[in-house]
Amino acid sequence: MRYVDEYRDADKARALAARIAQLCEPGRQYKFMEVCGGHTHTIYKHGIEDYLPEAITLVHGPGCPVCVIPMGRVDDAIHLAEQSSVIMASFGDMMRVPGGSRSFLDAKAAGCDIRMVYSPLDALKLARQNPDRRVVFMAIGFETTAPSTAMTVLRAARDGLTNFSVFSNHVTIIPAIKAILDSPDLRLDGFLGPGHVSTVIGCTPYDFIAAQHAKPLVVAGFEPLDILQSIYQLMVQLSEGRSEIENQYSRVVAWAGNAKALSVLTEVFELRPQFEWRGLGFISHSALQVREKYAAFDAERLFELPGVRVADPKACQCGEVLKGVLKPWECKVFGTACTPETPIGTCMVSPEGACAAYYNFGRFSRERLQQAGSPLAVISR
């Protein structure tokens, strides 16, 4: 596959890894946060950590749209799905996410009409095919996904559909990064920037990270060499004493982002005063709601919602994991009470969640890895 296979080459990885290792100052520890859950997934799926010296630690960030949905919003969505007139359309990712007592999958098994879709446009198609039902699209995602939802709303408006609405849970990444930078627990040396969010918002919104917090950020692609190269670029900046915004993913990300996508997003959505993030609490101006102008397509306006805030389970340490303060396996219930089969927190549900990624792909010790022939073991000796 073009633009994929080239970035999975083990020889180039070894070369990059050697350079990265060479850049480590003896005795110094480096902590980089990959903001984006997609990166977390790639890191574990391809075993990228095997190429990193012990001095470098990757810390998983809050950029997993499924992980940050609070339970109360899931319950609201299930409440919608329970209306006999409603067909709930959702990405597969949402199906297992637990609300206060159950997930979409549970609700579906109990009789709710919940359909998996690949695209918000598929939800629109459902609305056309079922004129006597009300189709609600469970809209989740960061700035990457919000323009697609917005385009879909615009099309529904153009076509005069009266049985389609979106339940917007779209969030924005910058306030989440700010919350993390403001957290006293965490000392970070730099960031891997979310490449696909940047296809929309570009690279300039990260300027404050370099300017105000003096941290480097490299907007990174999603293939393993992209990540390794981005780490290399971070290490180079640190070794040179720089803290700048760089774009490793320039084949896909334009520095200015996608103007059309931004304008569509802004046409349909506006910032909410504040929004609850799972584990992180309320963050102001961190989420998108449908504008008054498109009220006819806003499930929150069309339906009554319980809107009950549900406290996270006591055992759940997702907040700490999402902020990068805890490694997944440091959570007390990790892998025992909380597994992908019986998730307590959202981070164990989404394939982009740090706990799920670590449990599914990375659950073994460095020692065992070396026995199994880690490339690092080969390189570092």
């Binding site: 070369a15 990444i173 080969v378």
Partner: protein, 103 residues
Amino acid sequence: MCLGIPGQVLELMTEHPDLARVDVSGVRRVINIGLLDEENIQIGDWILIHVGFALSKIDETEAKAALQFLEDIGDAYADELMALQSSAILDEQQAEVPDAVRG
């Protein structure tokens, strides 16, 4: 974040100017390219697909430059390895690893 996959435009839907048929390694889907209005998408172009929409056009020049950078690093490393290979340590290490998992 969010899954994005490169695909190549096979066909522009003349009746629906915001739609294109796109190939991803031999499988095909109609993708909405309405967010790339200003990119003047043509057959053969590569785009990044996310939830049925094209989010950006892939820039081949940038891609080549980046790959060149990786290759340069790779070549340099290969030269260093060659130099190392006169010592047999590395071969010995590799022999301990089972065949199937040898990198």
